[in-house]
Amino acid sequence: MSGAALAFEDISHHYGAGPDRVDVLVHVTFDVPAGTVACVVGPSGCGKSTLLSLAAGLARPSAGAVRWDGREVKLGPNFDLGMAFQQPGLFPWLTVRQNVAIGLRTRGKAKAEALATADEFLGTVGLSEFLDAYPSQLSGGMAQRVGIARALALRPRLLLMDEPFAAVDAFTRIKLQQELKALLRRYAPTVVFVTHDVSEAIVLGDVIVVMSQRPAGVQRIIPVTREDRDRSSASYARKLAEALACLGVTSGMGGE
Protein backbone atom coordinates (compact mmCIF):
# COMPACT_ATOMS: atom_id res chain seq x y z
CA MET A 1 0.00 0.00 0.00
CA SER A 2 2.33 2.73 -1.08
CA GLY A 3 1.04 6.16 -1.80
CA ALA A 4 1.27 8.18 -4.93
CA ALA A 5 1.85 11.84 -5.29
CA LEU A 6 -0.81 14.40 -4.55
CA ALA A 7 -0.52 17.76 -6.20
CA PHE A 8 -2.49 20.97 -5.69
CA GLU A 9 -2.10 22.99 -8.84
CA ASP A 10 -3.02 26.64 -8.57
CA ILE A 11 -6.20 25.95 -6.63
CA SER A 12 -8.61 28.78 -6.10
CA HIS A 13 -12.00 28.18 -4.53
CA HIS A 14 -14.96 30.24 -3.48
CA TYR A 15 -18.43 29.67 -2.09
CA GLY A 16 -21.51 31.54 -3.16
CA ALA A 17 -21.77 34.05 -5.95
CA GLY A 18 -22.16 37.76 -6.46
CA PRO A 19 -22.27 39.84 -3.27
CA ASP A 20 -22.39 36.69 -1.13
CA ARG A 21 -19.25 35.27 -2.61
CA VAL A 22 -16.58 34.18 -0.19
CA ASP A 23 -13.12 33.51 -1.54
CA VAL A 24 -11.58 30.78 0.52
CA LEU A 25 -8.47 29.70 -1.32
CA VAL A 26 -6.34 31.66 -3.75
CA HIS A 27 -3.63 30.19 -5.94
CA VAL A 28 -2.70 27.36 -3.63
CA THR A 29 0.05 25.24 -5.07
CA PHE A 30 2.06 22.55 -3.39
CA ASP A 31 3.03 18.93 -3.85
CA VAL A 32 2.90 16.05 -1.47
CA PRO A 33 5.40 13.41 -2.60
CA ALA A 34 4.31 9.80 -2.36
CA GLY A 35 4.40 8.31 1.09
CA THR A 36 5.11 11.59 2.88
CA VAL A 37 3.12 13.52 5.43
CA ALA A 38 2.21 17.14 4.76
CA CYS A 39 0.87 19.01 7.74
CA VAL A 40 -1.23 22.03 6.87
CA VAL A 41 -1.42 24.72 9.51
CA GLY A 42 -2.99 28.13 9.47
CA PRO A 43 -5.36 30.52 11.23
CA SER A 44 -8.91 29.35 11.95
CA GLY A 45 -11.27 29.41 9.05
CA CYS A 46 -8.55 29.82 6.47
CA GLY A 47 -9.84 27.05 4.32
CA LYS A 48 -7.74 24.12 5.44
CA SER A 49 -10.79 21.89 5.55
CA THR A 50 -11.84 23.08 2.11
CA LEU A 51 -8.47 21.95 0.80
CA LEU A 52 -9.15 18.47 2.09
CA SER A 53 -12.65 18.42 0.64
CA LEU A 54 -11.20 19.23 -2.75
CA ALA A 55 -8.56 16.56 -2.44
CA ALA A 56 -11.22 14.06 -1.41
CA GLY A 57 -13.39 14.73 -4.42
CA LEU A 58 -16.22 16.09 -2.27
CA ALA A 59 -16.22 19.29 -4.26
CA ARG A 60 -14.71 20.56 -7.49
CA PRO A 61 -12.30 23.50 -7.22
CA SER A 62 -13.49 26.78 -8.70
CA ALA A 63 -10.17 27.04 -10.49
CA GLY A 64 -7.11 24.86 -10.76
CA ALA A 65 -6.89 21.11 -10.30
CA VAL A 66 -5.97 18.54 -7.72
CA ARG A 67 -3.95 15.69 -9.13
CA TRP A 68 -3.70 12.33 -7.50
CA ASP A 69 -1.43 9.71 -8.94
CA GLY A 70 -1.09 11.86 -12.01
CA ARG A 71 -4.79 12.09 -12.74
CA GLU A 72 -7.23 14.84 -11.89
CA VAL A 73 -9.46 14.13 -8.89
CA LYS A 74 -13.10 13.63 -9.87
CA LEU A 75 -16.23 14.14 -7.82
CA GLY A 76 -17.56 11.10 -6.06
CA PRO A 77 -16.19 8.23 -4.02
CA ASN A 78 -12.49 7.57 -4.31
CA PHE A 79 -11.46 4.09 -3.36
CA ASP A 80 -7.84 5.07 -2.76
CA LEU A 81 -8.95 7.42 -0.05
CA GLY A 82 -9.35 7.30 3.70
CA MET A 83 -10.45 10.27 5.77
CA ALA A 84 -10.60 11.08 9.42
CA PHE A 85 -12.50 14.07 10.79
CA GLN A 86 -12.52 16.08 13.97
CA GLN A 87 -15.73 14.39 15.01
CA PRO A 88 -15.20 10.73 14.26
CA GLY A 89 -18.72 10.44 12.88
CA LEU A 90 -19.22 6.81 13.77
CA PHE A 91 -22.57 5.31 12.85
CA PRO A 92 -24.32 5.12 16.20
CA TRP A 93 -26.32 2.05 15.28
CA LEU A 94 -23.27 -0.09 14.54
CA THR A 95 -20.78 -1.59 16.94
CA VAL A 96 -17.16 -0.52 16.87
CA ARG A 97 -16.03 -3.38 14.69
CA GLN A 98 -19.03 -3.00 12.38
CA ASN A 99 -18.15 0.66 11.97
CA VAL A 100 -14.62 -0.18 10.92
CA ALA A 101 -15.78 -3.03 8.71
CA ILE A 102 -18.47 -1.16 6.80
CA GLY A 103 -16.05 0.71 4.57
CA LEU A 104 -14.56 -2.59 3.54
CA ARG A 105 -17.98 -4.07 2.83
CA THR A 106 -18.70 -1.13 0.54
CA ARG A 107 -15.56 -1.98 -1.33
CA GLY A 108 -16.83 -5.47 -1.92
CA LYS A 109 -15.05 -7.45 0.76
CA ALA A 110 -16.84 -10.45 2.21
CA LYS A 111 -18.34 -9.99 5.66
CA ALA A 112 -15.98 -12.37 7.45
CA GLU A 113 -12.91 -10.86 5.86
CA ALA A 114 -14.08 -7.33 6.59
CA LEU A 115 -14.68 -8.09 10.25
CA ALA A 116 -11.31 -9.82 10.55
CA THR A 117 -9.52 -6.82 9.07
CA ALA A 118 -11.51 -4.54 11.35
CA ASP A 119 -10.46 -6.51 14.38
CA GLU A 120 -6.85 -6.35 13.24
CA PHE A 121 -6.79 -2.58 12.93
CA LEU A 122 -8.74 -2.08 16.12
CA GLY A 123 -6.05 -4.14 17.81
CA THR A 124 -3.44 -1.83 16.37
CA VAL A 125 -5.10 1.18 17.94
CA GLY A 126 -5.49 -0.66 21.21
CA LEU A 127 -9.23 -1.18 21.26
CA SER A 128 -9.38 -4.98 21.15
CA GLU A 129 -11.53 -5.07 24.26
CA PHE A 130 -14.18 -2.79 22.81
CA LEU A 131 -15.04 -4.55 19.59
CA ASP A 132 -18.71 -4.97 20.41
CA ALA A 133 -19.23 -1.67 22.15
CA TYR A 134 -21.46 1.00 20.66
CA PRO A 135 -20.14 4.48 19.89
CA SER A 136 -22.27 6.01 22.61
CA GLN A 137 -20.30 3.99 25.14
CA LEU A 138 -16.90 5.31 24.09
CA SER A 139 -14.90 8.27 25.28
CA GLY A 140 -13.80 10.97 22.86
CA GLY A 141 -10.30 9.60 22.48
CA MET A 142 -11.53 6.07 21.95
CA ALA A 143 -14.07 7.13 19.34
CA GLN A 144 -11.36 9.05 17.54
CA ARG A 145 -9.18 5.94 17.54
CA VAL A 146 -12.02 4.01 15.96
CA GLY A 147 -12.29 6.69 13.31
CA ILE A 148 -8.60 6.37 12.55
CA ALA A 149 -8.78 2.57 12.51
CA ARG A 150 -11.71 2.85 10.12
CA ALA A 151 -9.75 5.08 7.78
CA LEU A 152 -6.60 2.96 7.92
CA ALA A 153 -8.44 -0.35 7.55
CA LEU A 154 -9.32 0.77 4.05
CA ARG A 155 -5.57 0.62 3.41
CA PRO A 156 -5.78 3.94 1.67
CA ARG A 157 -2.99 5.21 -0.50
CA LEU A 158 -4.19 8.71 0.35
CA LEU A 159 -5.03 9.60 3.92
CA LEU A 160 -6.66 12.94 4.67
CA MET A 161 -7.05 14.00 8.27
CA ASP A 162 -8.97 17.08 9.31
CA GLU A 163 -7.92 18.11 12.81
CA PRO A 164 -8.63 14.62 14.16
CA PHE A 165 -7.20 15.34 17.59
CA ALA A 166 -8.65 18.79 18.12
CA ALA A 167 -11.56 17.61 20.25
CA VAL A 168 -9.44 15.42 22.46
CA ASP A 169 -7.73 16.35 25.73
CA ALA A 170 -4.04 17.21 25.80
CA PHE A 171 -2.73 13.95 27.26
CA THR A 172 -4.72 11.74 24.96
CA ARG A 173 -3.67 13.91 22.07
CA ILE A 174 0.03 13.29 22.60
CA LYS A 175 -0.58 9.58 22.93
CA LEU A 176 -2.65 9.52 19.75
CA GLN A 177 0.05 11.45 17.92
CA GLN A 178 2.61 8.82 18.82
CA GLU A 179 0.29 5.97 17.86
CA LEU A 180 -0.51 7.62 14.56
CA LYS A 181 3.16 8.17 13.84
CA ALA A 182 3.82 4.47 14.30
CA LEU A 183 0.88 3.52 12.10
CA LEU A 184 1.95 5.89 9.34
CA ARG A 185 5.45 4.51 9.41
CA ARG A 186 4.04 1.05 9.01
CA TYR A 187 1.60 1.67 6.17
CA ALA A 188 3.20 4.68 4.50
CA PRO A 189 0.26 6.29 2.71
CA THR A 190 0.45 9.79 1.34
CA VAL A 191 -0.94 11.99 4.06
CA VAL A 192 -2.36 15.48 4.30
CA PHE A 193 -2.92 16.33 7.94
CA VAL A 194 -4.70 19.54 8.84
CA THR A 195 -4.17 20.95 12.30
CA HIS A 196 -4.19 24.23 14.14
CA ASP A 197 -1.57 22.90 16.55
CA VAL A 198 1.86 23.74 15.19
CA SER A 199 3.74 21.45 17.58
CA GLU A 200 1.59 18.59 16.40
CA ALA A 201 2.51 19.48 12.84
CA ILE A 202 6.20 19.30 13.60
CA VAL A 203 5.91 15.93 15.32
CA LEU A 204 3.86 14.33 12.58
CA GLY A 205 4.88 16.02 9.36
CA ASP A 206 7.66 15.67 6.87
CA VAL A 207 6.71 19.09 5.69
CA ILE A 208 4.70 21.94 7.19
CA VAL A 209 2.54 23.95 4.84
CA VAL A 210 1.71 27.26 6.44
CA MET A 211 -1.39 28.95 5.07
CA SER A 212 -2.28 32.59 5.33
CA GLN A 213 -5.53 34.22 6.41
CA ARG A 214 -8.57 33.87 4.24
CA PRO A 215 -8.49 34.22 1.25
CA ALA A 216 -5.72 31.77 1.92
CA GLY A 217 -2.65 31.08 -0.08
CA VAL A 218 0.46 29.14 0.83
CA GLN A 219 2.74 31.29 2.89
CA ARG A 220 5.65 29.00 3.44
CA ILE A 221 6.60 25.39 3.14
CA ILE A 222 8.86 24.32 5.97
CA PRO A 223 10.63 21.00 5.79
CA VAL A 224 10.93 19.05 9.00
CA THR A 225 13.82 16.79 9.91
CA ARG A 226 14.06 13.97 12.36
CA GLU A 227 15.78 15.94 15.06
CA ASP A 228 13.06 18.58 14.94
CA ARG A 229 10.53 16.02 16.14
CA ASP A 230 12.23 15.59 19.48
CA ARG A 231 10.24 18.03 21.59
CA SER A 232 13.16 18.56 23.91
CA SER A 233 15.61 19.51 21.19
CA ALA A 234 16.71 22.99 20.27
CA SER A 235 15.93 22.44 16.60
CA TYR A 236 12.30 21.74 17.58
CA ALA A 237 12.07 25.07 19.33
CA ARG A 238 13.58 26.82 16.34
CA LYS A 239 11.18 25.12 13.92
CA LEU A 240 8.27 26.01 16.16
CA ALA A 241 9.34 29.63 16.30
CA GLU A 242 9.77 29.72 12.55
CA ALA A 243 6.32 28.36 11.93
CA LEU A 244 4.68 30.58 14.52
CA ALA A 245 6.43 33.60 13.08
CA CYS A 246 4.77 32.90 9.76
CA LEU A 247 1.46 32.88 11.51
CA GLY A 248 2.19 36.27 12.96
CA VAL A 249 3.00 35.04 16.45
CA THR A 250 6.22 36.34 17.88
CA SER A 251 8.15 34.36 20.46
CA GLY A 252 7.61 37.03 23.08
CA MET A 253 11.19 36.78 24.25
CA GLY A 254 13.85 39.43 23.94
CA GLY A 255 13.20 43.14 23.57
CA GLU A 256 9.86 43.97 22.04
Binding site: G76, P77, G82, F91, W93, I102, Y134
Partner: protein
Protein backbone atom coordinates in the same frame (compact mmCIF):
# COMPACT_ATOMS: atom_id res chain seq x y z
CA UNK B 1 -43.91 10.40 28.69
CA UNK B 2 -45.72 13.68 28.14
CA UNK B 3 -44.55 17.25 28.15
CA UNK B 4 -46.37 17.71 31.40
CA UNK B 5 -44.63 14.91 33.18
CA UNK B 6 -41.25 16.16 32.12
CA UNK B 7 -41.91 19.25 34.19
CA UNK B 8 -41.92 17.13 37.32
CA UNK B 9 -38.86 17.84 39.44
CA UNK B 10 -36.67 14.75 39.58
CA UNK B 11 -36.11 13.45 43.07
CA UNK B 12 -32.85 12.01 44.31
CA UNK B 13 -31.74 9.18 42.07
CA UNK B 14 -32.23 6.56 44.72
CA UNK B 15 -35.92 7.18 44.80
CA UNK B 16 -36.38 7.62 41.10
CA UNK B 17 -38.01 4.27 40.66
CA UNK B 18 -40.38 5.15 43.45
CA UNK B 19 -41.23 8.43 41.75
CA UNK B 20 -41.78 6.66 38.45
CA UNK B 21 -44.13 4.22 40.13
CA UNK B 22 -45.93 7.12 41.69
CA UNK B 23 -46.31 8.96 38.41
CA UNK B 24 -47.16 6.06 36.16
CA UNK B 25 -49.31 3.95 38.42
CA UNK B 26 -50.39 5.56 41.66
CA UNK B 27 -51.45 8.99 40.51
CA UNK B 28 -53.37 7.80 37.46
CA UNK B 29 -55.18 5.31 39.67
CA UNK B 30 -56.01 8.09 42.10
CA UNK B 31 -57.26 10.12 39.19
CA UNK B 32 -59.41 7.33 37.83
CA UNK B 33 -60.77 6.67 41.30
CA UNK B 34 -61.62 10.33 41.69
CA UNK B 35 -63.35 10.39 38.33
CA UNK B 36 -65.30 7.29 39.29
CA UNK B 37 -66.32 8.88 42.58
CA UNK B 38 -67.44 12.10 40.94
CA UNK B 39 -69.21 10.08 38.26
CA UNK B 40 -71.06 8.04 40.86
CA UNK B 41 -71.93 11.18 42.79
CA UNK B 42 -73.34 12.89 39.72
CA UNK B 43 -75.50 9.90 38.88
CA UNK B 44 -76.85 9.66 42.40
CA UNK B 45 -77.31 13.38 42.98
CA UNK B 46 -79.19 14.03 39.79
CA UNK B 47 -80.92 10.66 39.84
CA UNK B 48 -79.79 10.11 36.28
CA UNK B 49 -81.46 7.24 34.52
CA UNK B 50 -79.46 4.36 33.17
CA UNK B 51 -79.95 5.59 29.65
CA UNK B 52 -78.29 8.93 30.24
CA UNK B 53 -75.42 8.00 32.51
CA UNK B 54 -75.07 4.60 34.09
CA UNK B 55 -73.21 4.15 37.34
CA UNK B 56 -69.54 3.27 36.98
CA UNK B 57 -70.20 -0.17 38.38
CA UNK B 58 -72.87 -0.84 35.77
CA UNK B 59 -70.34 -0.08 33.06
CA UNK B 60 -67.75 -2.34 34.61
CA UNK B 61 -70.31 -5.11 34.88
CA UNK B 62 -71.31 -4.65 31.27
CA UNK B 63 -67.71 -4.75 30.15
CA UNK B 64 -67.12 -7.89 32.18
CA UNK B 65 -70.22 -9.34 30.59
CA UNK B 66 -68.94 -8.59 27.11
CA UNK B 67 -65.54 -10.16 27.59
CA UNK B 68 -66.61 -13.80 27.53
CA UNK B 69 -68.89 -13.34 24.52
CA UNK B 70 -67.81 -14.48 21.10
CA UNK B 71 -69.59 -11.59 19.43
CA UNK B 72 -67.49 -9.02 21.24
CA UNK B 73 -64.20 -10.59 20.32
CA UNK B 74 -65.34 -11.09 16.77
CA UNK B 75 -66.07 -7.39 16.52
CA UNK B 76 -62.74 -6.50 18.10
CA UNK B 77 -61.05 -8.96 15.81
CA UNK B 78 -62.61 -7.41 12.72
CA UNK B 79 -61.53 -3.94 13.73
CA UNK B 80 -58.03 -5.10 14.59
CA UNK B 81 -57.72 -6.95 11.32
CA UNK B 82 -58.77 -3.91 9.33
CA UNK B 83 -56.40 -1.78 11.33
CA UNK B 84 -53.44 -4.12 11.03
CA UNK B 85 -53.75 -4.58 7.29
CA UNK B 86 -54.16 -0.87 6.66
CA UNK B 87 -51.42 0.06 9.09
CA UNK B 88 -48.84 -2.29 7.61
CA UNK B 89 -49.60 -1.08 4.08
CA UNK B 90 -49.56 2.54 5.13
CA UNK B 91 -46.27 2.28 6.99
CA UNK B 92 -44.41 0.46 4.24
CA UNK B 93 -45.64 2.77 1.48
CA UNK B 94 -45.31 5.85 3.65
CA UNK B 95 -41.70 5.18 4.61
CA UNK B 96 -40.79 4.28 1.03
CA UNK B 97 -42.30 7.44 -0.41
CA UNK B 98 -41.00 9.51 2.48
CA UNK B 99 -37.49 8.23 1.83
CA UNK B 100 -37.79 9.14 -1.83
CA UNK B 101 -39.04 12.62 -1.05
CA UNK B 102 -36.42 13.12 1.61
CA UNK B 103 -33.58 12.14 -0.70
CA UNK B 104 -34.60 13.94 -3.83
CA UNK B 105 -35.26 17.64 -3.78
CA UNK B 106 -36.82 17.44 -7.22
CA UNK B 107 -39.42 14.91 -6.16
CA UNK B 108 -40.09 16.84 -3.01
CA UNK B 109 -40.78 20.09 -4.83
CA UNK B 110 -42.98 18.28 -7.33
CA UNK B 111 -45.03 16.42 -4.77
CA UNK B 112 -45.28 19.22 -2.21
CA UNK B 113 -48.34 21.11 -3.49
CA UNK B 114 -50.29 17.90 -3.98
CA UNK B 115 -49.43 16.68 -0.49
CA UNK B 116 -50.23 20.02 1.06
CA UNK B 117 -53.59 20.10 -0.66
CA UNK B 118 -54.47 16.59 0.42
CA UNK B 119 -53.37 17.30 3.96
CA UNK B 120 -56.43 19.46 4.50
CA UNK B 121 -58.82 16.75 3.48
CA UNK B 122 -58.80 14.93 6.77
CA UNK B 123 -59.06 11.11 6.60
CA UNK B 124 -62.55 11.35 8.09
CA UNK B 125 -63.68 13.26 5.04
CA UNK B 126 -62.74 10.29 2.91
CA UNK B 127 -65.07 7.93 4.74
CA UNK B 128 -68.18 8.49 2.60
CA UNK B 129 -66.11 8.05 -0.54
CA UNK B 130 -64.69 4.76 0.62
CA UNK B 131 -68.18 3.61 1.53
CA UNK B 132 -69.35 4.48 -1.96
CA UNK B 133 -66.49 2.64 -3.55
CA UNK B 134 -66.07 -0.35 -1.31
CA UNK B 135 -69.39 -0.62 0.40
CA UNK B 136 -69.35 -1.97 3.90
CA UNK B 137 -66.60 -4.46 3.16
CA UNK B 138 -63.35 -4.65 5.03
CA UNK B 139 -61.41 -3.31 2.06
CA UNK B 140 -62.82 0.16 2.48
CA UNK B 141 -61.66 0.44 6.07
CA UNK B 142 -58.26 -0.98 5.21
CA UNK B 143 -57.83 1.56 2.45
CA UNK B 144 -58.84 4.37 4.77
CA UNK B 145 -56.44 3.34 7.51
CA UNK B 146 -53.71 2.86 4.94
CA UNK B 147 -54.32 6.35 3.59
CA UNK B 148 -54.30 8.01 7.00
CA UNK B 149 -51.19 6.14 8.12
CA UNK B 150 -49.47 6.66 4.77
CA UNK B 151 -49.89 10.38 5.06
CA UNK B 152 -48.50 10.66 8.56
CA UNK B 153 -45.56 8.39 7.77
CA UNK B 154 -44.67 10.10 4.50
CA UNK B 155 -44.53 13.54 6.03
CA UNK B 156 -42.62 12.41 9.11
CA UNK B 157 -40.18 10.24 7.19
CA UNK B 158 -39.41 13.03 4.75
CA UNK B 159 -38.71 15.39 7.58
CA UNK B 160 -36.59 12.87 9.48
CA UNK B 161 -34.51 12.01 6.43
CA UNK B 162 -33.87 15.67 5.77
CA UNK B 163 -32.71 16.16 9.33
CA UNK B 164 -30.06 13.45 9.30
CA UNK B 165 -26.68 14.74 10.40
CA UNK B 166 -24.79 15.65 7.21
CA UNK B 167 -21.55 14.42 8.79
CA UNK B 168 -22.87 10.88 8.48
CA UNK B 169 -23.45 11.46 4.79
CA UNK B 170 -19.91 12.72 4.37
CA UNK B 171 -18.53 9.69 6.17
CA UNK B 172 -20.60 7.37 4.01
CA UNK B 173 -19.38 9.06 0.83
CA UNK B 174 -15.83 8.85 2.06
CA UNK B 175 -16.27 5.15 2.70
CA UNK B 176 -17.33 4.78 -0.89
CA UNK B 177 -21.12 4.58 -0.67
CA UNK B 178 -23.20 5.60 -3.65
CA UNK B 179 -26.46 7.54 -3.36
CA UNK B 180 -28.66 4.49 -2.96
CA UNK B 181 -26.41 2.86 -0.36
CA UNK B 182 -26.34 6.16 1.52
CA UNK B 183 -30.11 6.44 1.45
CA UNK B 184 -30.78 2.90 2.57
CA UNK B 185 -27.93 2.15 4.95
CA UNK B 186 -27.14 5.53 6.42
CA UNK B 187 -30.05 7.94 6.15
CA UNK B 188 -32.79 5.45 6.83
CA UNK B 189 -30.93 3.92 9.76
CA UNK B 190 -30.07 7.30 11.20
CA UNK B 191 -33.65 8.52 10.91
CA UNK B 192 -35.06 5.26 12.29
CA UNK B 193 -35.79 6.48 15.84
CA UNK B 194 -37.72 9.49 14.58
CA UNK B 195 -39.58 7.37 12.05
CA UNK B 196 -40.40 4.89 14.79
CA UNK B 197 -42.01 7.51 17.00
CA UNK B 198 -43.99 8.71 14.01
CA UNK B 199 -45.10 5.12 13.50
CA UNK B 200 -46.37 5.15 17.03
CA UNK B 201 -48.41 8.30 16.44
CA UNK B 202 -49.64 6.82 13.18
CA UNK B 203 -50.90 3.76 15.04
CA UNK B 204 -53.11 5.96 17.18
CA UNK B 205 -54.39 7.79 14.12
CA UNK B 206 -55.05 4.55 12.27
CA UNK B 207 -57.00 2.99 15.11
CA UNK B 208 -59.20 6.06 15.42
CA UNK B 209 -59.78 6.01 11.68
CA UNK B 210 -60.97 2.40 11.77
CA UNK B 211 -63.54 2.96 14.45
CA UNK B 212 -64.73 6.21 12.86
CA UNK B 213 -65.15 4.47 9.54
CA UNK B 214 -67.16 1.77 11.22
CA UNK B 215 -69.53 4.34 12.66
CA UNK B 216 -70.45 5.44 9.15
CA UNK B 217 -70.69 2.30 7.12
CA UNK B 218 -69.80 -1.16 8.25
CA UNK B 219 -71.33 -4.49 9.02
CA UNK B 220 -69.07 -5.65 11.78
CA UNK B 221 -66.45 -4.28 14.11
CA UNK B 222 -66.09 -2.45 17.37
CA UNK B 223 -67.45 0.77 15.91
CA UNK B 224 -70.54 -1.04 14.70
CA UNK B 225 -71.08 -2.53 18.12
CA UNK B 226 -70.87 0.89 19.72
CA UNK B 227 -73.14 2.56 17.19
CA UNK B 228 -75.74 -0.18 17.48
CA UNK B 229 -75.72 0.14 21.23
CA UNK B 230 -76.11 3.89 20.88
CA UNK B 231 -79.11 3.57 18.59
CA UNK B 232 -80.80 1.19 21.01
CA UNK B 233 -79.83 3.48 23.88
CA UNK B 234 -77.81 0.86 25.67
CA UNK B 235 -75.58 3.40 27.28
CA UNK B 236 -73.60 1.04 29.51
CA UNK B 237 -72.54 -0.85 26.39
CA UNK B 238 -71.65 2.39 24.64
CA UNK B 239 -69.36 3.45 27.43
CA UNK B 240 -67.94 -0.03 27.77
CA UNK B 241 -67.21 0.05 24.06
CA UNK B 242 -65.49 3.41 24.36
CA UNK B 243 -63.33 2.11 27.16
CA UNK B 244 -62.47 -0.96 25.13
CA UNK B 245 -61.60 1.26 22.19
CA UNK B 246 -59.36 3.42 24.33
CA UNK B 247 -57.62 0.47 25.95
CA UNK B 248 -57.00 -1.32 22.67
CA UNK B 249 -55.72 1.88 21.12
CA UNK B 250 -53.36 2.42 24.03
CA UNK B 251 -52.16 -1.18 23.86
CA UNK B 252 -51.51 -1.01 20.14
CA UNK B 253 -49.57 2.23 20.55
CA UNK B 254 -47.60 0.77 23.42
CA UNK B 255 -46.75 -2.36 21.45
CA UNK B 256 -45.62 -0.36 18.44
CA UNK B 257 -43.64 1.92 20.71
CA UNK B 258 -41.98 -1.00 22.47
CA UNK B 259 -41.09 -2.68 19.20
CA UNK B 260 -39.69 0.54 17.88
CA UNK B 261 -37.64 1.25 20.96
CA UNK B 262 -36.06 -2.17 21.25
CA UNK B 263 -35.38 -2.75 17.58
CA UNK B 264 -34.66 0.62 16.12
CA UNK B 265 -33.56 3.02 18.78
CA UNK B 266 -29.80 3.06 19.00
CA UNK B 267 -29.56 5.97 21.35
Amino acid sequence: MSRMQREERAPVARYRWLAAWRDRVLLPLVGILLVAIVWQAVVMLYRLPLVVLPEPWAVVRTLAGLLPTVAFWRDVGVSLYEFAAGYATGVVLGVAVGLLLGESRTFRLTASPVIEALRFIVPFAWIPLTVLWFGTSYTGKIVLVAYAVFFVMTVSTTRSIMQVDPTLTRIGTMLGMGRMALALFVHLRAAAPAIASAARAAAAVGWIAVVAAEYIGASAGLGVMITNAATSLQTPTVIAGMIAMGLIGATVSAVVGWLARTRLDYR
